[in-house]
């Protein structure tokens, strides 16, 4: 680690001699991966916070420039392993927008269904990991129980359980069948019946409330300044959601709400995630009801990326995901930029946790629901 210098590599000021550095990570239970945070500690108070990235860097953007656009499909699922399908969706939609391809309606519905299922799975992962950060080990396993059903269902149509590669330019690679529809309805019913249990076990628990309320408060102004999106922004009270504000796919046809918080503290962010589960379930239900017949794949001729640029934003599980592509006429992207939500959410951390207890730092960081490989890419 010696080669990486930080802002706090040494403490020079003699007045600050009683402060000391604490390396949190890259191997630490609360950083969910290989994030390293250098903390300048004064007792148990973190006075300076410096997140250091790059331990899980895999050059996804460079890889996109080195291969045909179709070769980037498997990468999209590996950027954010928690919620992979929105990434898949965003990339396909980007190419479709660039090449002007119309997607069959059934394919769009299937996309929405899988994306929302994946969003639920991702929120279960994020919330469960957050509760583990607070010290309770059991809720995540109940949530994984539900998540497992979703993964099973998704495996049935996408073929994999975590790094999906299901959406294709022009449609989806595999149609859904009646078994899947039946199964998904059962999953919706099951998850609905478990909300009450989560309320009693986690949300209502006084220790949980004390640990999360008034911890890591993000005012709307601050969230906007850092470009935070997703549940982090919505927890602060601003109901910004790409699905509503900049509708894509078939989302305008569904009736769903954007849950928002009030105080912007960790508890609100947690609650927004829990309420979004219900909204996702509603979307899936409506999509299953309205599911039209037809092909799931459009006729796609050879796609050349025209000179010029194009971008497409989707609402991933953790916030706004934007793909920005510059083409040069060949079928290899000249440049692909991915704007991931976790990156801007992480950049909040320093201002958010300055001068807070290390326990609050863990709580606030967990509530941002970061996926570190997504930040490193």
């Amino acid at each position: 680690m010696g080669t990486l210098t930080t802002r706090f590599s040494t403490i020079q000021d003699p007045d600050e001699k009683h402060k000391f550095l604490l390396n949190m990570g890259p191997q630490h239970p609360c950083t969910h991966g290989v994030l390293r945070i250098v903390l300048e500690m004064d007792g148990e108070y973190a006075m300076g916070i410096d997140p250091i990235l790059g331990y899980g860097h895999r050059m996804h953007e460079k890889m996109a420039e080195c291969r045909q656009w179709s070769g980037f499909y498997p990468n999209t699922g590996r950027i954010d392993y928690g919620g992979a399908i929105p990434y898949n969706h965003g990339y396909c939609a980007l190419i479709e927008r660039m090449a002007g391809i119309e997607v069959p309606e059934r394919a769009e519905y299937i996309r929405v269904i899988t994306v929302e299922l994946n969003r639920i799975a991702s929120h279960f992962l994020g919330v469960g990991a957050y509760v583990i950060d607070l010290g309770a080990f059991t809720p995540i396993l109940y949530m994984f129980d539900d998540r497992e059903d979703i993964l099973d269902a998704l495996e049935d149509i996408t073929g994999s359980r975590l790094t999906y590669c299901h959406h294709r330019v022009g449609g989806v690679s595999k149609d859904i069948d009646d078994l899947f529809i039946k199964r998904t309805r059962a999953i919706i019913k099951n998850i609905r019946s478990r909300f009450d249990m989560y309320d009693r076990l986690v949300t209502g628990n006084i220790i949980f409330q004390k640990r999360t309320k008034d911890v890591g408060i993000i005012p709307v102004e601050m969230a906007r300044r850092y470009g935070a999106t997703g549940p982090v922004l919505r927890g602060s009270g601003l109901g910004f959601d790409i699905r509503k504000n900049e509708p894509y796919s078939v989302y305008p046809e569904f009736d769903f709400d954007i849950p928002t918080g009030e105080n912007g503290d960790a508890f609100d962010r947690y609650m927004v995630r829990m309420l979004e589960l219900e909204q996702s379930l509603r979307i899936i239900e409506q999509a299953l009801d309205k599911l039209p017949d037809g092909p799931v794949m459009a006729k796609v001729k050879r796609v050349k990326l025209q000179p010029g640029d194009c971008s497409f934003s989707v609402e991933a599980a953790r916030g706004m995901l934007t793909y920005y592509l510059v083409g040069d006429g060949s079928n290899v992207p000249y440049k692909l930029k991915i704007r991931v939500p976790s990156y801007s959410n992480l950049s909040l951390l320093e201002e958010l946790c300055k001068g807070s207890l290390i326990a609050d730092l863990v709580s606030a960081m967990g509530s941002l629901d970061l996926i570190i490989p997504e930040i490193d890419r």
């Binding site: 001699k17 009683h18 402060k19 000391f20 004064d42 007792g43 108070y45 001068g355």
Partner: protein, 175 residues
Amino acid sequence: MIDYYQIVAQIMFVAFILLTIIGALLSVNAKILMHSVLGLAVCLLGVAGLYFYLGSMFLSLMQIMIYVGAVCIVLVFGIMVGFTPNESAQKNDIGRNTLLGIVASGIAGLGLVITIFGKTSWETSAATVGDFSIEWIGENLLLKYCLAFELISVILLIAIVGAIILAKGGREEGL
């Protein structure tokens, strides 16, 4: 048969004395501040054992509870909070006042030992009234020696308030 038990008891007695002496020496000579407090803890444990021989189990337990369990821990706490991890391993400076220390403590100790052996002949009282049970202490503490009880309560109260004020003032300044 009783001799056998006596031997064991005497060996343990010597062990306690050695514990006290070693602990005391360690606590003043240790190069690391933490070792010094640990030496104090060892010494206090030894003294607790001696209290046992002096017939008061209650006091020896109190010694462990208050001295080792509270005072020493507060000291260690002070070291760990007040000094950064690097500094708490700092060496005690040796040598500045060593000669003065040896002379002063030598004179004081010698004077005491001379007093013990030379000047006074202690009369051992033959019969002691009462037993060493805690009921006895408790009764005396609340009736006969009530003032000591009241005094210590007041002192502890003042200490708590003072400690809180001192420690809190520092924190507000720091933040």
